[in-house]
Symmetry: D3
Subunit: 228 residues, 6 copies
């Protein structure tokens, strides 16, 4: 503890921008159903959709000092990922630090803890995903670290990994896999676009996906209602 | 497991339309405070208010195959009720199946599990009540059943029962009791309309409901503040 | 149990109006990080921000009779604070009582239990903070008390204390400390306004708050990325 | 509500005694992985293992009046299944009613709510499965029903169904399926006994269950550690 | 914050010893069903049953410094009541402080947070009730207060109040009401002893408590099973 | 997914045996308060205390196929660490696999999911830490991986890391840090032994740890009780 890692590598900018075009569910599927942060993380306002390299923050329970340290390590477009070393629902993040992050071009923040001043932050349009809304104050007493690997909402996040977040939640893509995941997401989206047309025309998923044979092979039976 | 029951009976259409005029709280009270799904079920967007016959889906944890099977059993106006046989917060339902259900006239879906693609589903205005928002993918490996009795969020739901859902949550009305419940809901609403006028005029519930005598009989005492 | 305390003292009206100008987070900090109700309490609609003296209601689980008794004890501008004596998520409060409270000028209600009819209550613009949305009905069988000290969402609330509530949640200020807390909130807000300007200009919290020395004294180290 | 159904049919006594020889996990598997009450239900003391016909009790939140009514409907060997109509963690059951049930030969009780006096009940050796231990008192004000279908911890239980409970939890077997489930449990147990011998001898599950081919067919790859 | 209140009054010693003869459930009922700490508090080992005056500790999340301060304020027979000002599951209490408390004659400790070293503490037989078992360490950075009113697991506890704890949980009795509660507990226990004899003899609660008339008056109906 | 990594490096055997002499709390502190699995993980029986190299298993929700694959990768003394890729409380582990693991000398298993057959497993004395006890069955349909990095109960675990588990829970020590952590644990234990003696003699933590000066410097005030 007590280390700030500088000059981290970041995923390629074009790849990050490419990933920003796809939703969290698509990217989670495209990379083999991994990297999805738990459902306890949700946006404080609806409609935000961002992607960017992670600047990670490991900090003590109820102590937000290291967020201030981490701001200096952020480049425009980065997403800060805040992970207390023990469970906390305190409000680590409020409108003042939001003002600072926005002023420096940070794209958003992911908090595995609480957020406060949500009316102000919503009005300024800064994207925040958090575990809860809670005004409980924090102290500035104990060191943590910036840009070390962390576990956030059940997923490992390394500095420079790509974070994608929307109304469905948050997914992390490993930096070195980002280009492959982008390609897979594009392919998936094209396939889904074709299916969507058929669904819109009233076709059944049973036929769009050719499921009838497999279901019969598993033994699915159709019977008529017997009751009254 | 592995059974699809076809040609289920449905509650009378006029009764269903009648029930659609009343809120979940009113119907829950009108049928003697039963049938209310637990508070863990909530709408993914505000303002939807629907009623319709239930098409029930019993399926394995993290496996949404049977939803595709169930679509074929739905008639316009039906409401799909999805109940995993073991706890799951995975995202069984997303924008593709929502597109299919909407195209076929299904009125909405109740999920005792997770939902994803909520930005898209909200934009298309398809009504969904779910336990959580989570993009976690599901598989298509194991059979379940359609139109058998299920337990959804703590309540028994039989195929053809009437589901009513609004911002307060979801209530189920037994098919054979639906007409009686409709009558009771109408009666209750009329009584409440009369009370509402008196409340609007500033009258107290103590007087509107003649509670003073019963409270005194139970021993309620009025005293003056004694502190500083 | 079974006592209604009348003629409670209330915090000074000018002080209450002063506190209404500040958010829950600011007031919680200004009084030394105490008095904050737990994060399980949230508003049923966004944007309400109220302050007022507390009329407290202690009542049994799943029994809302005493809310009717408490309405008579409310003056315009009061905030009702409802605390069941045992855990309950039932819907103690709906549109009828909301109509009554609004008609009598009550500013809002805090429920350590459930709320129902939220579509109607939202439409009428009556401010409600509750633990959950649940249509489950309650009975009117057992006495409780009005204007005795209660514990609501983990905090002691005495009758006449000042309640402040906004999108972040709810905080209680002791009646006799209210004037001092108001002064401290004003001072804090002025200090934050100065900081906010510097953050908007792109300055770092490390500099705005002179943190670099203290961090170095604690042993914070800056190193360069070593990986690939 | 307010109905006591008398003279319910019960599963065959020999079948019930047969089921009592098998654990909850075995019976759950033997009947196709259904009927298992949720993991929130656990025994208040370790080592009890019972089976018996269900006498069901549907009652209001925080009101245990109907348990007294239900005792009269119990025969020796029955198991009482208590399901509040709304969530409650109150202590519906304590040492006095335990004394009564034990005196009348009831085999045990399943509570989808709280239990109290657990030191005394443990000392008397009466088997109890409950959602929590909590001394919170209940009232005797409102009617419920005995021997109607209930939902207990997420499972439908009908009067006369067979309940089996052990340290793993509780499973319900439909009355008319009990004989078939017993046969399936016996078959499963014999198969497992054969496997157990091979495991004891150090054989791998991969071989005992012939899994290697299926795994390879799905694409499982074996590689060597590459790191340092 | 930052205050240690010395020379608190304590409930009469004979009264405390009297209360120690009764269980938590009995005392909770005897004082009108109030004062019961929430079900999230449980003993780390079974069979402890203690009563004593409360020494209260209000401290920050994840900081156990004030427990050391509080030890000095304890007299033999006291029970320490530890209440963080914000939710924490950290392990505030382990075998070293347990050794200290035991050496000084403290009767036990109630923790609205976590406990660790439970194998050692169980072996030394020191009574502990806590919210969870968790080894997470705490710091010693921030002041709290000793012997001020606190909220612990949802109940107000004042210094000098009587705490009673057993396998069912923990109840607090106000210092000035302790003698009356003792008398009521004695009366209740005598009444229950008489009932227990009748239950042991096989009598029904319906008859022991004369409930049949009240049930009939509420409209309870007995019918025969109609199904197959 | 679908990879089995063979021939992983393991922490030095003497170091593992050394770590086995210390409790989870001591090791967690000795390595700077990191690596502690969440409090949702607890032992199914009391008194087990083990240490060993981790064999990690990443598998799908409700599918335990990969546990069978992983057994073959275990050496005597290893500890299996099972982490579903999505939340699951199903019973991945029962007495048959426990028999197999015990026969092959595996020291124990850590499950971020459910366990079943706990009566049998307890009787055979095989050490298990799990999230819950639940008999819910799993399938064998979908591949996972063995000996890849996993997140288990909120902590990153790499194959070959040292797991230590006791009644307090589970802690993971990075393979390459294990020798240093062992030295730190020994040092900590010696220091605590000295303190323990002084506590046993009745000395206060305030004096044993020289806290009085620091407390006074922070502003702690001692006052006398003012109330009645």
């Amino acid at each position: 503890m007590g280390v700030v890692v500088q000059n981290i590598p970041r995923a390629d900018k074009a790849v990050v921008e490419g990933l920003a075009r796809y939703g969290v569910a698509t990217i989670h599927e495209a990379q083999g159903r991994k990297g999805l942060l738990g459902p306890e993380i949700s946006p404080i306002w609806s409609g935000a959709h961002i992607a960017g390299p992670a600047v990670t923050v490991s900090l003590p329970p109820c102590d937000n000092w290291m967020i201030h340290v981490a701001v200096e390590q952020c480049q425009p477009g980065d997403i800060m990922v805040v992970a207390p070393t023990s469970y906390s629902d305190a409000g680590y993040f409020g409108d003042l630090i939001a003002t600072s992050l926005k002023a420096r071009g940070v794209a958003g923040i992911i908090l595995d803890c609480g957020c406060r001043d949500i009316a102000d932050i919503t009005e300024m349009g800064f994207p925040v995903w958090s575990k809860c809304v809670f005004a409980q104050g924090t102290v500035k007493e104990t060191l943590g670290s910036v840009n070390i690997p962390v576990v956030c909402a059940g997923q490992s996040v390394n500095p420079g990994d790509v974070i994608v977040a929307d109304d469905d939640g948050v997914v992390v893509v490993a930096r070195k896999e980002a280009a492959d995941v982008l390609a897979a997401a594009q392919a998936r989206e094209e396939k889904e676009a074709a299916s969507r047309k058929r669904y819109l025309a009233g076709e059944l998923g049973l036929d769009v996906n050719n499921m009838r044979g497999a279901l019969a092979a598993k033994g699915l039976k159709y019977i008529d209602w017997q009751g009254d």
